[in-house]
């Protein structure tokens, strides 16, 4: 019994170490991280990216803050009774080796009430929590509309 307990403790400690060893900066890939430039007449805008988890562990990702915005949230767009609805979620889970796709019309990030002028072409630093470790990622501000 003691042996089993001891082995379990060793396995668990290695599991912890494997995540602790996972370098978020190099192991979590953000592709095309972007936020649509806020539009006149609205205080809300959306952010998108593909996020690949190359860590050995499943990651629980939540958006904590975005430079220049008063509030941030994570949302999922769903269709209910023929209507499109937005559902707030606290976090997204990404299994090891899998990619979370934040896309218009699906899972996405939301940004409210810009506190400064946020121009197209600039970058905004987003702070994520990944299994309770922080990761800062720059998101590019892009235009939603064609000129």
């Amino acid at each position: 019994m003691k042996k089993i307990f001891f082995l379990t403790a060793i396995v668990l400690s290695f599991a912890n170490l494997s995540f602790a060893d996972c370098d978020l900066k190099s192991k979590v890939e953000f592709t095309e991280p972007r936020i649509f430039a806020p539009l006149k007449g609205s205080n809300a805008t959306g952010g998108f990216a593909k996020i690949k988890n190359n860590c050995a562990e499943e990651l629980e990702l939540s958006l904590k803050s975005a430079e220049g915005f008063k509030a941030v949230e994570s949302h999922i767009t769903v269709e209910e009774d023929g209507r499109m609805a937005m559902k707030k979620t606290d976090s997204f889970k990404i299994k090891s080796g899998e990619t979370l796709e934040l896309v218009p019309g699906g899972k996405h990030l939301m940004f409210f009430d810009p506190q400064v002028v946020i121009n197209e072409g600039s970058e905004v630093k987003l702070v994520f929590s990944l299994n309770k470790k922080e990761l800062t990622v720059p998101f590019k501000i892009v235009s939603r509309t064609k000129k």
């Binding site: 007449g41 949230e73 707030k88």
Partner: protein, 196 residues
Amino acid sequence: MNPQKGALLTLRLFMIVITIGTIYFGFTIWKTANGPTSGGDFTLTYRGQGWTFSSQPKKLNLLYFGYTKCPDVCPMSLSYAGDAFRMLKSDELSDVRFLFLSVDQAHDKPNDVADYAANFFPTFIGLSGSKEQIDKTIGLFPASYVLEENPKSYLGYSISHTDRIFFLNSKGVVIDSISGSKEGSDSIYKKIKENI
């Protein structure tokens, strides 16, 4: 009764029945093909001023229901529509307009709605109204919206709404529709060309 007269009467009755049957059958087919009609004239506000659909209707009028704080589906639909309008020639543009009606009467200010719609194409018309006007207008169409309280979110609410662009003729009658956010600008452009 003269058998010849009797036969003639029977033939006449038969012809009447056939004629009535053909008319009824034709009407039923026409009705089925055209589907139930929806739409009509409606009055709202544009930048706080009264605005009536029938005052300056275009040959083709596109109508979408949403709200300005909707960060995903509405701007996606409006940007697709804006891209479709950019594909039109100037003579086509003079026959078509896009109407965006905000169903968020409690939070969307008339000027914000107008500014918001114009972000996507300069001639897009952002409409507001009283709750009665909005509800009366949306009731004319196969559309709906539901305001859901959500105290855990920053806005404190969200609005689920129909995601369709309705194509209206000059009388405001729906002649076609398409998903706003799912089909893309090419499909909207194609529908405009088909209906203009």
